[in-house]
């Protein structure tokens, strides 16, 4: 059974004549990474919201583990999907471990608190992202990159088959970007998790493909999917030009012995392909 299946999904805000997205179909099985790629405001986050059950008024089919996402209560949904937000607004200085423990909410009764085994699971998750040393620090005092890893640890503690990430590497430096990507690779390869992510970086999809993971990319353009497929099939100069209106080059470089990685390099913000710059 597919963990996630969308069939001709369409969504419009109430009292708005035009849909935010339409005609969206894809499916995702265990151990897969699915990247949503598209310019700002193309509806990526709204699509994630419909899948997560935050919006209910969509048309078509949105199935989470075979259940209509509208029919799932929050407590059921949270057993299938965990969510890593794009930006997390920190209010009170909870300790890092307290934050990760909140991933156990769905297994904790309304009138009780996480038990010892929940704490053990939370520590395990924190260990998996390599932040055990920060367990007792206030999470308002750690860096943005560490904060993102804490959010990932919280999602891991939720023990769901799928993790939904909204631009997981936004605002991160090179190092933390790599740390997050490597953590994601481990999650998929070692734990068999599936990841649905919205991203602005086509090269991340190449990175995952290069690591030998099963990766699909969907290009979201003018409210619809322009093309869906593996990174090598879909991410080419022409598509990037259509999607973002920029000039880009696809280059290949050798990183280890015999190991080639593709990368898209942006050249300039041109609206069409007929410039002198393109060969």
């Amino acid at each position: 059974m597919n963990l996630l299946e969308l069939d001709h999904a369409e969504f419009a805000y109430e009292h708005q004549p035009y849909p935010v997205f339409r005609n969206i179909s894809f499916s995702m099985g265990p151990g897969e990474i699915f990247c949503l790629l598209g310019p700002n405001g193309c509806g990526k986050t709204t699509l994630l919201d419909c899948i997560l059950g935050i919006h209910h008024t969509w048309q078509g089919k949105v199935l989470v583990a075979g259940h209509d996402s509208r029919q799932l209560r929050a407590g059921q949904m949270a057993r299938y999907l965990a969510y890593v937000p794009q930006s997390h607004e920190k209010t009170f200085p909870y300790t890092v471990l307290d934050i990760v423990k909140m991933g156990r909410t769905v297994y904790t009764g309304r009138f009780s608190a996480p038990r010892e085994e929940d704490e053990a699971i939370a520590r395990e998750a924190l260990d998996a992202v390599g932040l055990m040393r920060l367990a007792d620090r206030p999470y308002t005092q750690i860096s943005g990159g560490e904060g993102q890893l804490v959010m990932i640890a919280r999602a891991l503690a939720q023990k769901t088959p799928v993790i939904v990430m909204d631009e997981p590497t936004a605002h991160l430096d090179f190092k933390h970007e790599m740390v997050v990507l490597e953590t994601m690779v481990r999650m998929v390869r070692d734990n068999g998790l599936s990841i649905l992510m919205a991203t602005h970086f086509p090269n991340h999809a190449f990175y995952f493909e290069n690591k030998g993971l099963k990766v699909s990319v969907a290009l979201m353009h003018e409210k619809e999917f322009l093309e869906t497929g593996s990174p090598s099939q879909v991410l080419n100069e022409a598509n990037i030009n259509t999607l973002y209106g920029i000039e880009a080059r696809l280059i290949t470089c050798r990183i280890d012995e015999g190991n080639l990685i593709r990368q898209l390099v942006p050249i300039g913000a041109r609206a069409s392909v007929q410039g002198g710059i393109r060969r």
Binding site: A78, E89, F111, P114, Q141, Q158
Partner: protein, 338 residues
Amino acid sequence: MTTRKKVILYTLFIIAPLLFIFASLFLGRYPLPLPLVIQVLVSKLGIAAYNLPDTYEALVWQIRLPRALLGALVGGCLAVSGAAFQGLFRNPLVSSGILGVSSGAGFGAALAIILFHSVTPATYIFAFAFGMVAVLLSYLIGRVYNTTPTVMLVLGGVIVSSVFSALISFAKYVADPYRELPAIVFWLMGSLANASYHDIAIAGIPMGIGIAGLMLIRWRINVLSMGDREAHTLGVNLAVDKGLVIICATLATAGAVCVSGVIGWVGLVIPHICRMLVGNDNRVLIPASLSLGACFLVLIDNIGRIITGSEMPLGILTALVGGPFFVWLLKRTRAGGW
């Protein structure tokens, strides 16, 4: 937190208010010696019989004890609902009156005083009822498409509070200036002077339900403070859990306000002092606020009874005593990680 530390902390939470209540039995305009107070308690509890003058018995058992008990309950309620609302609204500036319960109750009391020409049992009932109505109105204003976004709730609370404040002013304006107006003004400044076991029994029901509910749901407040979006994806039924927190905090505050009048400051500052002392995890913060709120109000009431011959209204003293103490603590703990 280790189990040992937890046991010590919780024991402290229970013992501290009891000590403050006990201390207030022999403090006051007529200080009583410790043995005498103990004798009264022992004979009243039927453990042993002493032949004591009725005045002592009346002073300790009929005046000071109910007053201290009610003070502890009211202080605990205000602090605990302040802490819960701060978590729910993800805003450290929020206090127990954020959804309009205090101004609603204030208007209810003023209306009852005008209708019946003085403070009567109807004052309590009106205060409680209007406090609840105010919160219900805030909730209905904040409700959009079956959800209650935090900003809308706060706006609802602001609107309802200012409307009821205006109504309080109107009530003062039309009140009889010699009998009703002073009664309204004193009621609004807050007092425990008329405390009786009857008050405790009646107002104790909503206060007890509110405290019990918040104690039970306290860990969920951590999750709710992550914001609606994240709480939902963590598996929280927002409508139910937010509703429960609002209902419990409102019952506790309305129960407190209807017997004691409007006592500010406790619901804002006690939770903050507790955040500095025990951290932000609501699992510890809620009982800590309950305990410290109880201690604080009993202490303030004792100070009010001792320093002035007449009754100093509580609302004045809580701010005058609490303010400098809060500043000292802010400097001392460097605001505990804020």
